[in-house]
Amino acid sequence: MYYFKLIFKNVFRAKLRTALTITGLIVAVVAFGLLQTVVDAWYAGANASSGTRLVTRNAISLVFPMPIYYRERMRSVEGVKSVSYSQWFGGIYKEPQNFFPQFAIDHTNYLEMFPEFITKPEELLAFKRDRQGAMVGRKLAEQFGWKIGDTVPIRGTIFQGNWQFTVRGIFDGKDETTITRQFFMHWDYINEDIKRRFPRRGDQIGAFNIEIKDASRAADISKEIDGLFRNSLAETLTETEKAFQLGFVAQSEAIVVAIRTVSFVVIFIIMAVVANTMAMTARERIAEYATLKVLGFSPGYVAALVFGEAMVLALTGAALGILLTFPMAQGFASSPAGAAFAVFAVTPSTVQLQVICAVIVGVVAALVPSWRSARVNIVDGLRHVG
């Protein structure tokens, strides 16, 4: 009991220094949390994927399309439940900075294949009935203030022209991890126009989305589908949705690695700051520690005092930092810069890592000072003037 009382008295003896150290810790813990969340955001697509969905794309690379008639042959594969398709539209809404993903989809069944997109039945019906209709994610609709019935003009970059879409429905995500910063339109509508203007580019699709009955057969079915189109002009590559999404992460892996590294660097920096605080604290109190030893306290007790003080500092900073991380992440997510991330939510594993890092900082910072104070020579210590 006295042990804890002593530690608390010690912690708040140099108020300014303690306040500064804890502020530093809070900054570090928040920064670490936000950076980890940025890394998580990168994996949002992969985490939201389902095991019973496959994606087929052109084997050369994603920018090459496949003929739309492939769909009928895919349907015939044993174990395939349904086949839908999507095409990256890549248009510009007013300014290039307003980037958001747009997909031209098979309006008849695409949204049904993704139960994580929650649509209102009447809105879904309205979307299906309007060839120029668009289904918009909640986050996107909120960002640009779109309401049902609004017309959204989009300038095509891949499919040239000025396109007009009417918002017919706004969908919600099943939970925080669902990406609702997306825009869906009818592929039929785009295709018809393109076919008229550039006959060679018509009836081509970027990706097929395939739902299978049994997740454990994903590998076999993928192989079988790719076998159907071997040695054709457009050979295919079929993989699970997760593998497909991780493919995007792998392409920008260098950035992910850099952010991860930097998030640990910030912990190192704060380790230096806390270690410094503890080193100074212990040096100033050498005479006191000697006194404690004269009174009969063991070296272990003295070491534990220094150690406990470092831990109180580290954990207080961590607790306040974690509490602050949530509103900060929220604030960032709703800022213009944060809008670039489809999903930006602090995960439990991030909080866990924050705690672990704080404990490590406390332990490392206390190591040298507590060892030194435990070994204080009584006579030298008493003679020492802080």
């Binding site: 050369i60 392409q251 660097v265």
Partner: protein, 388 residues
Amino acid sequence: MKIPFSYIFRNLWTRKLTTALTAAGMALVVFVFAAVLMLDAGLKQTMGGTGSFDNVVAIRAGSETEIQSGVSRDQAALVESMPQVARNKLGEVMASKESLVLISLFKTGQDKGSNIITRGVSPMGITLRPQVKIKTGRMFREGSSEIVVGRNVHADFDGTQIGQSIRFAQREWTIVGIFDAGGSAFDSEIWGDVTQLMQAFRRNGFSSVIVKLTNSDNFDSLVKDIKADVRLTLDAKREQIFYEDQSRALSTFISILGSVLSVIFSIGAIIGAAITMYSSVAMRTGEIGTLRALGFRRPSILVAFLSESLLLGLVGGLMGLFFATFLQAITISTLNFQSFSQLAFSFALTPKIVVQTILFSLLMGFIGGFLPALRAARMKIVDSLRAA
């Protein structure tokens, strides 16, 4: 009267552990600060060095990148025949009609493919890029399924040795050479014969047309002529500007991330410096009183402590910068969001970055040391002497 510099220096030297820890914290911050600036500078150097100022790239209006663009044969022929386009000694038009595709290759140690730009060039296309030189092997032969790979592709990707072949579009493409494009974005590309690539991909139109201007000043008149011709729905840009624009999103991302990180990190380092300086002031109360009693004025005390903190910042800054110089050996390859393909670039240390970094570390030292120095300067002689 000024307090001698050696006194300031020795104060830091006496408390080596504290000085080292504080400086190390600052060094890490400076390192990150410098690394981000260097990365952005490296990206700009790569993209800026890719194009030549006198070359003009024409792509389909509104398509932003070569990959999304399409230029028909008629349009390409019209652009080539413009009077502003240079001709060589033999009277040939200095223009390259190119076709771009993305192919997916595996980076060494990865099981997921990354997109690589594969560029079909006309023979003139190589002349138009004097920075591209064959490093080993030879250039591809016209009319054959041969390709040459950029040195960064060769370094980062599996199966890109000379003699190996890559299969796409129902053909085997043999690698016959590795080229060095002087650190430009072409180093991250694969080149082949444009007619062969177009045949293999069953393409009818080109992706872009690159022409050399007779005279650098003719750019505006060329753009005007292109705009005036209703048959040409094309955008024309100087090649250099075109490539700079291609990396704008990545560059913005790096600088935003970097400045946010630098601000957050520097708060940590400033706090570290402040703690050190406050304790330094507190421990030397008696000393400060003595100095004042000897006749040193308040401003001298303020300057002395501030100099100590600045010196601390400088040490941290130099340490950070020292480690940052090693980054120059590293080349990173990542996805350029705009061209949707891999782009390799290195960290570049420019004199401007050195100055910025040192100023940044001095600023951290100044902010961290100002309040403690002020406290030291404000002490009353009697009180501080009694405290000792």
